[in-house]
Structure formats: C-alpha cells, structure tokens
C-alpha cells in the first residue's frame, strides 16, 4: 500500500507530519506515475503530488531528462518566481518508492476543453498568451550554471531524429515527406543563442486558474536548444482544440505571446517560431504514428493508443495548410 511508504517518507522530511491520506493515481504509463495525496499535519493537511518511476523502472528512455533533473528544474523555476510548484522532497533509495520527487499540489485546471470553454476561465483566456510569453522568457533566462545536465538539440538534429523515426515505421506518407523536405530546405541553422528549452510547453502541462497560469509541469523533454522552439510548439494547431483562429493554445495571438516574451527582456523571432511550428506539427504527427506502433508491438495494447494512430492525418491537413495552402 503506497500510503504506508509515503507516510514514512513524509515524516522523514516534514516535521510533525503524521501520515498520508487519500492517495490516488492520476495518470501515466507503466514507467512513470503521478499520485495525488494529502499529508496529515497538525497545522492542517497539505496537498501534495508524487511523480515517480516505480521501483524497477529507473532508466530514462531516449529523450527524457530524468526525474532528478525535472526536480532540479522545477525548483529552479520556483526559486526564480516562475509559476512552478515547490519541490518538497527528492526520493532516496531508503524511501522504497522508486525514483522521483514530491511537490506541492497546485489547484487549477489542465484540461484544454474546459480552459477554452468554461465561464470560470473567461477572464484568464484573453490574458494568457501574454502571460505565457513572459513565463517562457523566464524559463529561457534560468541561470545556466545551476541547470542540470541535459541533451542538446539543434533544428538539424531534430529533423534527422524525426526523419529516422518516420522511416522506421516503413509506411509511406507523402505529406510527411513534403514537410521533411521543407524543413531541410528552411533549416535556419544553429540559434545564435542557446538556452534551456522546456520542450513540451502546451495544454495539459499548464495548470490554469481563473487568474491565469499557476504552474508549468512536466519538464520531461527539457533540453538545451533554440529558445524559439517553445514558442513554436505552443502554436501547433493540435493544441488549439478546435479554436483554430487563435494560434496560441486556442486562446491567444502570436502577437500577444511575442509581446509578453519581449516584455521580459527577450526577443522573439517570428520566422524561427514559424519554422518550429511546422516542425512541431510534424513531430506530433510522428508521435501519433509512434503510439500506434507501440499499440501494435508493445505491452500497451489499448484502444486509445490504436486510435491515436488515426489522428496523424490531422497533422497532415495542418501541414498542408501551413506549407501548401489552397488558392495560392
């Protein structure tokens, strides 16, 4: 029972903690879990989140930064005044809970359709793009010397990775070929500035409240690279959830996003951002195909994984809208 192990763990780092209640698993696959629970404390219960790879699942696959690095990044973001939960404890072997960390639970919403449609977020929606621009700028400005070791990516390497993965599926897709060709032809070369890149800055990884953004989550894909990548990724149509005329997450304009980014003392490069939006659209399409492959060959034989394979065509129409619009 995880509550027993968690109870022993919280008592070791939080004086006065008497145990843990209400532990419930939120999401995740076999290799990574997220749990919500309350720490029982005489001063009042404290909401907390455990993010962990269970015992026996230690190795971070390919692109993942690793849970230890994620904990460092979240704490650095928190210390810099960015919307990020406080990291309460990094798991140790003697905790018996695997690898990972415990952080403060932040109230709010991550489900895009609610954020885009519910009355509760009506005031937040028009201010979010600018706010997120400032937050992304803050992430890109985190002090390099304190950052953990992370992989380095360039546009050229990202194109190569995507092409290799796409070719491994051995399933011809002329639209993906067109996109790969376009990316190779328009590769802007190495960024003049290389910064920390969050790598997955989009709906689902942002906790939003009625007042706007409250937390940035899931630093699993963090790396060093072109800072414009984060600005392009959040503009990918797949994260607009039907609101296709509002490029930033279905709630805002690129101009507002860039204005927020510039306000925080950085400079957005709209051409590079557009390049990364095309890259991101293709990347999501390749990821959809990859999930279908794991349905077919791997242990996760679920309907959801299978059906995600039938979403890759969504990225094909979006790539055509970007690269070969009709009537031109």
């Amino acid at each position: 029972m995880i509550e027993v192990d968690l109870g022993r763990c919280v008592a070791s780092f939080l004086p006065g903690a008497t145990g843990v209640t209400g532990a419930a698993r939120l999401s995740g696959g076999a290799s990574q879990e997220t749990w919500t629970f309350d720490i029982a404390h005489p001063g009042g219960n404290i909401g907390a989140i455990l993010r962990r790879a269970p015992p026996g699942y230690g190795a971070a696959p390919g692109r993942a930064a690793g849970l230890d690095a994620e904990a460092v990044l979240m704490q650095l973001a928190h210390d810099a005044g960015l919307p990020s939960p406080k990291v309460m404890h990094v798991l140790k072997p003697e905790d018996g809970l695997g690898r990972g960390f415990i952080m403060a639970r932040i109230a709010g919403e991550t489900i895009a359709r609610k954020i885009l449609r519910d009355e509760e977020f009506a005031i937040a929606r028009p201010i979010l793009a600018r706010q997120l621009g400032r937050v992304i700028a803050g992430i890109h400005g985190l002090p390099r010397a304190k950052l953990p070791q992370l992989r380095s990516m360039t546009a050229t390497r990202e194109i190569e990775d995507l092409e290799r993965e796409y070719r491994s599926f051995n399933w011809p897709r002329p639209v993906f070929e067109l996109a790969l060709r376009w990316l190779r032809d328009h590769d802007p070369g190495p960024s003049s500035e290389v910064t920390l890149v969050h790598g997955d800055f989009r709906h689902g990884n942002l906790i939003i409240g009625p007042d706007g953004v409250r937390a940035v989550l899931d630093w699993e894909l963090a790396h060093f690279g072109d800072p414009m990548e984060d600005l392009g990724w959040i503009c990918v149509n797949s994260w607009r959830f039907g609101e296709i005329d509002k490029p930033v997450g279905g709630f805002g304009t690129r101009e507002d996003l860039f204005a927020g980014y510039d306000e925080a003392g950085r400079k957005a490069d709209p051409d590079r951002v557009m390049f990364w939006e095309v890259m991101g659209t293709l990347r999501w399409g390749v990821m959809c195909c990859g999930m279908m492959q794991r349905f077919r060959t791997g242990p996760d034989h679920s309907m959801e994984r299978a059906m995600i394979g039938r979403r890759s065509s969504e990225t094909e129409i979006d790539l055509l809208r970007l690269l070969a619009p009709r009537g031109t």
Binding site: P172, R173, V175, R181, M303, E314, R326, G327
Partner: protein
Amino acid sequence: MQDEPTLTELIKAVADFLRSEITPAIKGHNAFKLRVGINALDLVTRQLALAESSDAAEVARLKQLLGSDGSLTELNRALSEKIASGEVDLHTAGLREHLWQTTMDKLAVDQPNYASYKRELGNK
C-alpha cells in the same frame, strides 16, 4: 459470397447498443474508454463506406502523377521517394491537388469533426 447483414450493419448495431444502452451505465475512466471504443467502431463504418472509391481515385491520380503503375502502397512509396529527392515538388503539376484530395479523404474517415477539415470543406 458471404451472407447478410453487412459488416456496416453489424458494426452499427453494436455501436448503437453501446451508445444508447451501455454509456449511461458506465462512469469514470471506463466511460472515457467506452467513448473511444464507440469512436473506433464509427470510424470503421466510415472507412467501409468511403475507402473503396477514394482509394480507386487516389490510385488513378498517382498513376497520372508518376506515369507508372503499381499497388496503392507501391505508388505512395514511389511518390514519397520522389518528394524526398526533390524530383517532385509543389511546382509539379497536380501534386498540390493530389495531396489535398488524399488528405481530405483521410480526414473524412479519421476525424470528420476536426476543425481544420471542416474549415477546408467550406473553402472548397
């Protein structure tokens, strides 16, 4: 020759039963999974209805575009190689129209409610 009912009729009957009788009785994560399952069955009926004629039209366009013969997969493989090498691009007569028609036909089966698709249907 196989007997009736048709595959479409069978799948529709199952999907309708799940939608009207089972959905109200299921809660939580399994309700989400049930919805995904019903979507999958609906997708199968769309493909059964649409793919034969769209595949035939796609083969005809590919033969015209490439000036060669082959199965749908072989022709798509050939087109992919030509786009990758740069031998065929958006200046090639018919490529843009072919990619658009093929993609629209895929969306009609996969995700007919996708906003980009609905917008482009209106733009035709």
